[in-house]
């Protein structure tokens, strides 16, 4: 015989008093991550878009709202949700400061609304309304009893009028009284007690605005010298700040600034042995002069670093440090904490490898050590050290090579004390791992953008990144190049490819970055054919760059960053929509402005068209999704190219475009009303 299944059964008498009367059901709440196991992401100034499926038995009208508050325990606030069809409801709430916010959804049966809807249906069918007007009059009378002052008197009057109309044959006059918006408003203000259904409480982790909208610039400090006879220093980086600011970047990311190991040091172009003057890779962290909390003596001192952070801050720029949690064989931890490394049978330390590949200048940390607690604390101390020196942004090297649980713990710890800290995950790995790093707390993530080059690939990938569920927790940061990745399209496509990929990165994603000056100086020679490594990569040698070269893309970069700052549409990803073009080499997409809570910036849609072919001029008809652009199909409008200041009059959905890569492979249009046309 089957046996009883036990604890599920409960007599009705044991249920809470209003349990059986709370009829609505709330499911599918967004934004949520793994049903609330992780917080969704938000940024200061955003309005968090909330949605859910809400329904109940029968035909009754429902009302629903979202309750929200900062976790610090301020009072709950309330915002309404509205039905948008198929039992789906939407609303939003503003977030004005950093830190975890809590929200939940509540729904009740709307007795007055149900009565009114039914009354209207009865009236429409010509039924006698008398009895129902008495019913409604009673509802309004009860509301009057709950209200005070003016509202109470007004509700009592309206209740009385409903009762009086009920006495006139058929009660048809009552419909007008009942449908009066003033009555509706009063009834909403003085709701009857209804048992409500409530969702779980979910969390949104709100970071500062730069978590959502940021422009990163990466440079090697040792290549920042304007004097070809010596390598750069932190002071040279400080001197470079006005240039970075002029280009419009707000995060300046430096590869590791720590002492570099000498044992098995790599030479230029990754050579197995370094010559005596070779500086080594900055990612081989640690030497006799110190480890992760020290500055390489050739770059300067911690005091120099402090001055750099302060000067950057004055320019509105965050200095982002690289967290490369690995050691050179000369790192102090190798002797101080030998248990943090894996040993071979002969007692030597196992170097980094992904068999058959070996990285002999690196000792990986062994996160399976029984001393993992002390290791975790030490790594957190590294982060805290640099936060203590003013760092508010980190780019994390290879986070997918350290336990995911470690990052969850580290980020929670750091952000609980320093909610302003931004962490960018440099994980070029499998999709599930990249997603999970974002779930456990990384602010932003490197992506596959570099390898998505066709119109179809870009549209598919961006659609995934900018919609729920991914967009609820994963913030892409698009890089056309990095010191590790010089994509074939840049190697072969020349200046037009650099411009196209730059415009794509800076307008598809609210956050993006370039590795410079290699990028704006169109550096494009690979170490060897088929390689994605740069020839004479700065990873292994000092370079000197001529920023004043006439072919520099610096002005274009500055222009695009200025546009990004001026138009809030480009500061978020949610409203990205693609528009069909009858030419596969042309990609058209738009973003519309989600009004910020401060109302700053210029509104209106931004429409991009990019020629992906670096060789040949391409033309075609763009079939605009006019709804997405909030355009009226019957009215003409102006597309104003913000790169060239040209204006074109367009009308309707279908419009012709032609882009010659030799001139400029991209349009960045502001869509404006016809009146704005310059005559």
């Amino acid at each position: 015989m089957p046996e009883p299944t036990g604890p599920r059964a409960r007599p009705a008498a044991d249920l809470p008093k209003t349990f059986g009367r709370a009829r609505p059901v709330i499911t599918g709440v967004r934004p949520t991550v793994d049903d609330g196991h992780y917080p969704a992401k938000g940024a200061v100034g955003e309005r968090v878009a909330v949605e859910a499926d809400i329904f109940a038995d029968g035909h009754d009208e429902l009302s629903a709202h979202v309750r929200f508050r900062h976790e610090a325990g301020v009072p709950w606030e309330t915002a309404p949700l509205e039905p948008v069809g198929n039992d789906h409801w939407q609303g939003e709430f503003p977030v004005l400061r950093t830190g975890l916010h809590h929200f939940c959804i509540r729904a009740t049966v709307d007795r007055f609304g149900t009565w009114l809807k039914d009354l209207q249906a009865r009236a429409g069918a010509g039924q006698d309304l008398s009895v129902e007007l008495v019913v409604g009059g009673a509802l309004v009378g009860q509301a009057a009893a709950r209200a005070k002052g003016v509202d109470r008197r007004r509700l009592a009057e309206l209740a009385d009028r409903l009762h009086r109309t009920a006495e006139v044959t058929g009660g048809a006059a009552g419909l007008d009284v009942a449908s009066d918006p003033e009555l509706r408003e009063l009834m909403v203000r003085h709701p009857d007690f209804r048992p409500s259904a409530r969702s779980k409480v979910y969390r949104v982790d709100v970071e500062r605005a730069r978590a959502r909208f940021s422009s990163w610039y990466e440079l090697f400090p040792r290549s920042a010298s304007t004097d070809p006879s010596r390598p750069g220093t932190l002071d040279d980086v400080r001197a470079r700040l006005p240039y970075v600011a002029r280009l419009g970047f707000d995060v300046l990311y430096l590869p590791p600034v720590h002492p570099i190991g000498t044992t098995v040091r790599k030479g230029p172009n990754g050579a197995a042995e370094a010559g005596p003057g070779d500086p080594g890779s900055p990612w081989a962290v640690g030497a006799a002069t110190g480890g992760h909390t020290d500055v390489h003596p050739d770059l300067g001192t911690v005091a120099d670093f402090d001055r750099l952070v302060e000067a950057a801050s004055a320019e509105g720029i965050d200095i982002a440090l690289d967290l490369a949690f690995q050691c050179s064989p000369d790192h102090p931890w190798v002797t101080d904490h030998p248990d943090w490394f894996r040993k071979l049978p002969d007692g030597t330390i196992r170097t980094a490898e992904n068999p058959p590949k070996r990285y002999e200048d690196i000792y990986p940390l062994d996160f399976e050590t029984s001393d993992w607690r002390r290791l975790w604390d030490a790594l957190r101390d590294v982060v805290e050290f640099w936060i203590g020196h003013g760092v508010r942004a980190f780019r994390v090297d290879n986070p997918h090579a350290k336990p995911l649980r470690f990052w969850e713990w580290l980020i929670a710890n750091v952000r609980s004390e320093h909610p302003e800290v931004i962490m960018l995950a440099e994980a070029f790995t499998r999709p599930r791992i990249m997603e999970h790093l974002a779930k456990v707390g990384f602010t932003q993530s490197y992506t596959y953008f570099t390898w998505r080059t066709t119109a179809r690939e870009l549209e598919e990938y961006l659609t995934e990144l900018t919609r729920s569920p991914t967009a609820d927790y994963f913030r892409p940061n698009f890089w056309p190049n990095t010191p590790d990745i010089l994509h074939a399209s840049l190697q072969n496509g020349g200046r037009p490819a650099f411009i196209a990929r730059f415009v794509l990165a800076a307008t598809l994603a609210a956050s993006y970055g370039i590795y410079g000056p290699a990028f704006e100086l169109v550096e494009h020679e690979p170490r060897h054919p088929g390689s994605e490594e740069y020839l004479d990569s700065e990873k292994y040698q000092v370079r000197h760059w001529d920023l004043d070269r006439p072919d520099s893309l610096a002005d274009l970069v500055a222009r695009v960053n200025a546009i990004r700052r001026e138009f809030p549409a480009l500061q978020q990803n949610r409203t990205l929509r693609f528009h069909h073009v009858d030419n596969d080499q042309l990609l058209a997409y738009s973003k519309t402005s989600d009004a910020g809570t401060d109302g700053s910036g210029r509104t209106g849609p931004i429409l991009m068209v990019v020629n992906l072919d670096p060789e040949v001029a391409q033309a075609g008809t763009v079939h605009l999704d006019l709804d997405a652009l909030r355009l009226d199909p019957s009215e003409a409008f102006v597309v104003h190219d913000l790169l060239t200041d040209a204006r074109h009059e367009w009308s309707g959905a279908d419009n012709f475009v032609r882009l010659d890569p030799k001139i400029l492979p991209a349009h960045v249009f502001h869509v404006e009303p016809l009146a704005s046309r310059v005559p």
Copy 2:
């Protein structure tokens, strides 16, 4: 200043000892419903297909398995999961008895597997293996220390061999020793202790096999008389059992058998007033002679009902009762429990309505009554009463008109004592509500099948129903007709339409039903043009049927039900696949057999082709998905029509079909190897 976010931060020292070393992550576990808030559904004899995304940092190999057990607390059992690409893992476990089962997924880093994979990569690159063979020898030696007896000796030998091969230059010979499947098996049998990651514990509610695979027949007892001079009784239904059994049905569903109200009783064809001899609608439950736990005196007695249940049981048939939780104005509860009904201002009870529609012969129960606990108990007592009289299946009338929470409570209560009870939800309402009724526990659900008539509609709808997440909790039961729904396609399509819709229902869904004898006797006149109501509906009057009419579809019905019993492929929905046909009037689909745990039934794919046009013969080429049919593209095969016994030799993906609705509008093919062809 931002304030600390509080409780998330925890020093590493406060974390459990192995916390930091459990590196795998497990997400996206299936089958689960709302992240485990509701159990997924299973049926005795099934193998529950389990899947999850499982990954860890770095390059290590993982191993994962599912742990499962019946909630009664028997020991946990284990079954392996295997990676299928993109960090997705799959496995399954058998369920052999009713009741809730628990399962969770565990994953560990596979140290030996990682070592072996790396060794093979090193060997492939021609690297020296000596050191790694010592490492592996140590791993095997540790396993030997954990093992006993024969295994211990064998592991020690193998460890020794690895060590010895390490001493030979380069260690190349060690690769063979390491790759020996025997060693792998021994290492799996004696795993080292690894901190493992574990998912939440999820639940699968396992019902009896008929929950998954059932064939329902509905009839009105009062129309079951073979004597045209008197209405039918429960004894007549008993006499009808051999017919129902011959047709191959295993659930016989009866509309309510209770006393019928006389106040405002409806007449034939729903007339507002009944004549003196009119029997009224069985759904107007309750009269002076009793309510939901009584039998209508004209049908017989509770003792007659007991005899019917017993006789049905002997034929392998469940009697399914109708749970219509509503009252006629004459129901005993109206006087005994006036608080269970809503009142109008004059103290009279509000009748059922969906304004402007009114149903004046029905008093709905007021689930918002403050006495809801007693009401809930009374309704549960009704179910328990009939279970006490042998009922094991219920068809629930309009469940979406009662609180969803009530059903969750009721079904949990009933199933905790009687896990064999099956509940079919008759909810023709909005998608989210239908889904939710299934989530809260209904075994099976009516569907939109009746209104899905084109090939595209059927393919879309069935694809949704037979895949995760819907298939994890929602079991469709397809009805071509019901006493309330005579679809236009049946009104106009005649016999070919009846056959096509019948074959679709019985082969697309593992559970289906017909309302007879109206169905097999091709009853197709609507009450008026444009209505889905039957003319002279049995809902309001007694009918007499001639089951021996030569145009009855009874033989076809019996044949299809026999095929369903013979072929397990038709007893489940998971393997349903559609095949493209270059003619929109032809629908082709197949099911393959998931082997049952008892191994009974005939295997091999079943392939259906149905002509949806009831008028004209349609021909076209079916482009078979050979993978879905487990067919080799290079070999010919036989399609054996189980309806006509015809056999055709086919080969490759593209094959011609032609179906004349005037002959037979459907093929039900068994796909057989060529050898089975009758010469």
